[in-house]
Amino acid sequence: MKRAITLVMTVLLISTLLVGCDSKSGESSENIKIGLNYELSGNVATYGQSSVKGIEFAIDEINKAGGVLGKQIELVKVDNKSDSAEAANVSTKLATRDKVVVILGPATSGDAKAASPAAMQNKIPLISSSATSDDFTVDSNGKVRDYIFRTCFNDSFQGITMANFAFSDLKAKKAAILIDNTSDYSKGIGKNFKETFEKLGGEILTEEAYQSKDTDYKAVLTNIKGTNPDVLYVPGYYEEVGLIIKQARELGINIPILGADGYDSPKLAEIADKKSLENVYYTNHYSSMDDASDVVKFRESFKKKNGSEPDAFSALGYDMGYFVADAIKRAGEADPEKIKDALADTKDFKGITGTFSMDENHNPVKSITILQLKDGQPSFVKKLEP
């Protein structure tokens, strides 16, 4: 019996090797290969799918305009199933098998952190347009991770900005916080809001939490209502926030509700109805109602091609597509090392989500906008430079 087991194991091991060997050959000299490591199925598939739509849209435009350095960009898209082990797997495959020159994604901080070591080991730059966790680009000793970049601001910035706004502009002295305990995005921003608000002299009355995919918030909202705050800070994603705002208004909670870029989606107004979306403020990368010509052009052509309005993930993905193409151009050739240096040296890249430069921690220095929702429509309140 044991003999049979070991024999079978040998056979299977060998067959795995053969399967493994059956892969695509190295890059053809005609195309520049860029890897996409995204959540296309699983829990957070919406974020991955949105981001990829944005990236593909950008690369499509770039290729039609002649490509980069005279070559067309070829996207190698692989699904990491919203699972961190799989994200690591995909990174390794893209770097070693498909021989891409740069990896884009994953969309969420957890998967992005898991995907990073493989990129670092193989010396391929990895960029995420939506991983906001502080330790994504910087390790626990404060050292920046050489090949890892992001094109969105990190958690701290949004929390600090909104705390300032609440205290100074809305004259709030007492706040309640409601975070998504299963999202490091939400927890990070909430923490920064609390620290800044208290430093300014405000008081945090209570901190409650929910889990992603929850639908019933009446219990925690009733608790919050009982403490009588001036404002409520809910830095979550639109799927849950929409329900939270709706149920809050149903319970008679009419104070301003504040949030972060997770609110930016046309679906927010679908989930919470227009009447509830009154007296809501949030920080964002840009205003989807911005009437700057390039933003409008992007939205209209995106809508024409994909049939729906772009959300923040798509917009960020689109910018990242152009960002990486620009870096490759500046690098002069499709070489991962040179691309990494070009990415780190980025100055004043003009995208539709803002103009930014890369700082020494591989985070972008970007302006931030505060928007207000009136009757379901966002309107611009103010824009702050870093």
Binding site: K213, T215, G242
Partner: protein, 296 residues
Amino acid sequence: MILEQIIQQVINGISLGSIYALIALGYTMVYGIINLINFAHGDIYMIGAYIGFALTTFFKLNFLSSLIISMLLCSILGVLIEKVAYKPVRNSTRIAALITAISVSLFLEYGMMYFVKPETRTFPELLPDKQIHIFNTNAVLDFKNLSIIVITISLMLILQYVIYKTKIGKAMRAVSLDSDAAQLMGINIDKTISSTFAIGSALAGAAGVLVGVYYNSINPLMGVLPGLKAFVAAVIGGIGVIPGAVFGGFFLGITETVISAAGGSLYKDAVAFAILIIVLLVRPNGLLGKNIKEKV
């Protein structure tokens, strides 16, 4: 102030509980009859919600008609699942049947996800947005809360009538007591089992539509957790016992709300399972169940 909060939380708990109760009824009926935990039951609830979504958004039907049509379609689905998936394994071991149920559940969830994409969908506004204030306090009873509770209770009363006053109900009771004896008395087992599935699935479908209307958002995986909790509810009340499912549902809903109100909202799911384990250990036949000894 505190009293008003308590009243509000009780209302919250009862609304939540009615949903669990509706789903739990389906679980308990199927288990009573063929001793199978229908893992796919939570997913029938999800499909009911999507049918409701399609009917109200694309066909612009009103609330009541979507509810009824969704219930109908769900019963057909339930009967189909029984015939295709459960009948072949009816005489296999427990493990085989359970794994088959899990496979059907996964198939429904991910099949649905493939067709409708994993994003959440939202229901259009179907019910008037009126609110009733209780006792002139700030505690709010929404019109939607009211409709859920009223519809749940009506469906349960209809179910009681069917089970105790109709012939098919009698057949169901007979088969769940002793299926061999029932067969010997001339009862058609297949037809009875199919009817059980039909009714159970209809109730799940109703729950799905109600949830869609109340919470406004649906997604392909929405049936997983409520399905498990409804099973917990059924066990608490006594699996196979119909009033038990109702009791268990409300008990679980109120308990969950109380836990959330006490600040433990992150542990509310864990508490549900902990209650399940405690009940299984202390009184496995449920709080309203009978004490049946196993004969060898």
